[in-house]
Symmetry: C2
Subunit: 581 residues, 2 copies
């Protein structure tokens, strides 16, 4: 018992220090609160140990008050920011003819099977309680494809958005905002259309969305799967290695070329000469001029690359019309992990969160990069040791947290997507005995906005605003406009009559649930909830048929007496003022 106690006590300064450090770094709220919870847990367990046998007595009633690992609650202020994000995105999607659908949070297990490659191990299964075998959805794309395959006659073409939670049994990385339950926000255009038209509109939507969300400057990296395939063919990558080499290329935004090349050759057995040839292509970056470069390169001889280059050329001409070419970066290292992409692919990165520059393979810089990696890994280990020391969980369960802490290399991409022309067909072929149907399917192109990352950025901004005193942005707990209060004798019925009148007029109003509330208490509520207006009544006002109305602007103004107006003018006065807020 005592050694347990010593261990627990010893872990406290470490957690506390980590907490201070995190606060100083403006770390993610969720991770801080997780650490706080651990600290509280530790303290509680120490108290229990000190009580000795007392712990056993209360054991029956002991429930751990927490949310499951990798999940969290969202407070009212956080929710008001989340709602702001969702309504902003919805407005953009609707401006482009988007409609929304909803699918169940769990699907038949076989629907998800074989869609996510290695990541299938991250799928949450429901327990077999006698019935169908089901799993929580892993993304919104596969359910959408299943929906289209089931309803292809009614929806041969559709622009749909879907904002909903998805589930992955991943190692939670709270600092990065990576959770096991998180929102995805997808916009997809399904249907057979002329080339690159829906693709260019999806990019317009992406740009409008990021601009409207005010996440800061951003760049959209674009590339084409068929060009990548062409590169691999031209350079002579064996067919069976294309997938794994492609995933190595995709790491070029986080790792230097030397490291990617090492992975290709040492880990994946690629001929170094072939790797270097790939390197010449995938290091290329630029704008529409890169299309000409590729047209005059040896890639132009390859059939797959040809098709991809033609697409990119057409795309750039459309993006010019829409005026968003300057936001694009044709980045030939962009490969995207998912198997189902078949054409254009893209990924948006916000400037503030771009990965730190990682230099190329030269002797000295290579060492620097290695040092950086070691620092990152040791930070990750620190995190792990805190988690293990302070939580009651099986340490083995925590082992999965030992990984590169991606928060150290920026929040990464904030949105991503691409064209996937065959996913719906996979389901349609599967359900039908007609082999021709499989080839048909419904072509799709879409984008997924990383709303959790958007949330982290906006929450940080809100906190800055709060620190500067003004906290009247999206981050207010409730939307109440008027607080109705009394001076002196309570006047409960009179207050109720006034709020009733305000509600009927569409004004958001509250009053104290007290028969005789004290004035300072009422003003306290107004300040705490940042309610912009108050209506005050006292004995005099009731006699005269008047009310006092007052705009609240911070605590300074709350001492004033307000303006006395006829009760009959109250609603009009408030409505005029509220519009101006």
């Amino acid at each position: 018992m005592l050694s347990d106690l010593e261990l627990l006590k010893a872990s406290i300064p470490g957690i506390s220090a980590k907490l201070r450090e995190l606060r100083a770094q403006n770390a993610d709220e969720a991770f801080i609160s997780e650490q706080q919870q651990k600290l509280a847990d530790t303290n509680r367990r120490i108290a229990a140990l000190l009580k000795g046998s007392g712990e056993n007595d209360s054991k029956k009633a002991k429930i751990t008050l927490k949310t499951p690992k990798g999940t969290r609650d969202w407070t009212p202020i956080e929710m008001s920011i989340r709602e702001h994000i969702f309504s902003t995105l919805t407005r953009v999607f609707k401006a482009h003819g988007g409609c929304t659908i909803d699918t169940p949070v769990f699907e038949l297990r076989e629907i998800l099977a074989g869609k996510y490659g290695e990541d299938s191990k991250l799928i949450y299964d429901l327990q077999d309680q006698g019935g169908e075998l089901c799993s929580l959805r892993y993304d919104l794309t596969v359910p959408f494809a299943r929906f289209l395959a089931m309803n292809s006659a009614q929806y041969p073409a559709i622009k749909r958005y879907h904002i909903a939670k998805v589930y992955r049994r991943d190692a939670p990385a709270m600092t990065k905002g990576r959770m096991r339950e998180f929102y995805q926000c997808d916009f997809d255009i399904a249907g057979s259309f002329d080339p690159m038209l829906p693709d260019s509109e999806v990019l317009v939507i992406l740009c409008e969305a990021l601009t409207a969300l005010e996440v800061g400057d951003y760049t959209v990296k674009i590339n084409h799967r068929k060009i990548l395939d062409g590169i691999f063919e031209v350079c002579g990558v064996p067919a069976e290695k294309i997938r794994t080499i492609s995933s190595a290329v995709d790491k070029l935004d986080k790792l230097p070329w030397s490291e990617v090349k090492r992975e290709m050759t040492e880990d994946k057995g690629l001929d170094p000469v072939v790797a270097d040839q790939i390197g010449e292509f995938v290091k290329l970056k630029g704008g529409s001029e890169l299309v000409q470069t590729l047209e005059s390169s040896r890639l132009a001889q390859n059939r797959s690359a040809q098709a991809g280059i033609a697409d990119m050329k057409l795309l750039f001409s459309y993006l010019d019309v829409f005026g968003i070419t300057s936001k694009m970066s044709f980045d030939m290292s962009l490969a995207r992990g998912l198997d189902y992409y078949t054409g254009l692919i893209y990924e948006a990165v916000v400037e503030g969160s771009a990965p730190p520059p990682l230099t190329d393979a030269t002797t000295t810089t290579n060492t620097n990069a290695d040092t950086a990696m070691k620092t990152i890994i040791s930070k990750s280990k620190l995190k792990k040791s805190i988690a293990t020391a302070s939580s009651g969980e099986d340490p083995q369960n925590n082992a999965e947290e030992e990984e590169i802490d991606e928060s150290q290399v920026g929040v990464g991409s904030i949105a991503a997507g691409g064209r996937y022309d065959e996913l719906v067909g996979m389901f349609m072929g599967a359900g039908s005995s007609d082999p021709k149907k499989k080839e048909k399917g419904i072509p799709c192109v879409g984008v997924s906005v990383g709303v959790e990352r958007v949330f982290s950025i906006l929450m940080a901004k809100e906190k800055e605003k709060a620190a500067q005193g003004g906290f009247r942005g999206v981050g207010r707990k409730s939307a109440t406009e008027v607080y109705v209060m009394s001076v002196g004798g309570g006047l409960l019925i009179e207050r109720m009559e006034i709020v009733k009148e305000l509600w009927a007029a569409g004004i958001k109003a509250e009053f104290a649930y007290k028969v005789k509330p004290k004035l300072p208490k009422q003003f306290e509520t107004v300040d705490k909830e940042q309610i912009p207006f108050v209506v005050i009544i006292g004995g005099d006002e009731i006699k005269e048929g008047t009310v006092r109305v007052k705009e609240q602007k911070g605590k300074e103004a709350s001492t004033g007496e307000g303006e006395k107006i006829p009760r009959t003018e109250m609603v009009r006065w408030l409505k005029e003022k509220i519009v101006g807020v």
Copy 2:
């Protein structure tokens, strides 16, 4: 093989007939589509059987394209109705100072344990994949109580609403809108306040919500747990039988007294004299005058009943001020199933969906009621036999559907709730080693609106509107305001430039994803999507710097040529018109 085939073929006319019958009855969309799916499945299986060995060949690719039992997809038009419901409710909640929180879709299993009595068997568990044991949430109240217990310092008082999905492994009854995945929409006021003030505001909110949702005339049945407890004490119900007798009383809205009395005495062993005494009280119904009746009855001597009567008296005085007394029915048979209620309880019933009148225990009417019940049960059996014959599911699994089909007795209550002062304390006591904390807790009162039932009512209304030709209500697929089209030569770039201008002006606009779209095809889209305005360009307009603008009102108007205006006037013209729509 052949007998399988015969069986399947034989089931088709039955399903088809059932489908026609359901259509004629204006049955629930979800149930119809479920039957349609079964029909399609049956046809597919017949095709496979006819092909003989062909089925085995394609077996590997065979995935059943469906959603799990008791769940469904929501189409864009359904979603626009759902969004209308959610935004209406949110507006009402916010007018009363409501804020929202979110909790994870699954909770630690021990959080849910012991909260739902017998219904705990309906909880969905997640599979143990090495980690914590979790279950899908069963309602939003227990997670809210868990949230409050964890954050009592920060939120000693809160008005929160939560609109989210919950999960119950119940027997799905699609016709009634009862699903295994469904939305709940809760508004709760937590905190220690003067008596009946939050309670009366919750009832105001409920009335405002039902009025705003336009579900038709409604009545709110109200009662008080302490009065019920008093009745049971005064009549001499043994303490250990109170819970089970209370649940029998709650059935008085669906069953005649004779049946309820039979359950109390024959099934539950209550003395018939005691049962008759209870009957005298629980058959009472009325308005505030019932308070006086009770005050002068022998109930007034009972301490528990006294407290409840005083609450009801105060409540009615507040409801008078708020002007909603006429909507209330003080119904002493209302008991509400959940254990955690401690005070006022209520349930709203819409007139259109009230249960059919069930008469009291006299010889002849009793027979009628029995006949009615038998009809209901045989309808349920019919449903079951269809399901078993046409689906590939284990018939045993379908056995759970054999129950009284509640759709036959109306949709039942549309909203319900009450006061629960001890639930949060259960968690606070559980988490803390301080036994005093348990008693404290946070008192709560709340209401849950049955949004799935509201949906059924509004969807039926939308269909009526559609049948009458005008389908421009909430039930439009997308919100697109303007469709930009060309006559003649395609004019793709010009169309793109126009939509770009419209998007920038905040106008919702679409265009055909075709280089050279045909005019009739473009008008077809406008009609199908019911887009209210079109902008038309042709060679002449481009030369002149003009556009044709046109309001679309059904197919008749679509033949007109529209109005030619300068291109520079386009946005202004459209904005003026759109406001008027």
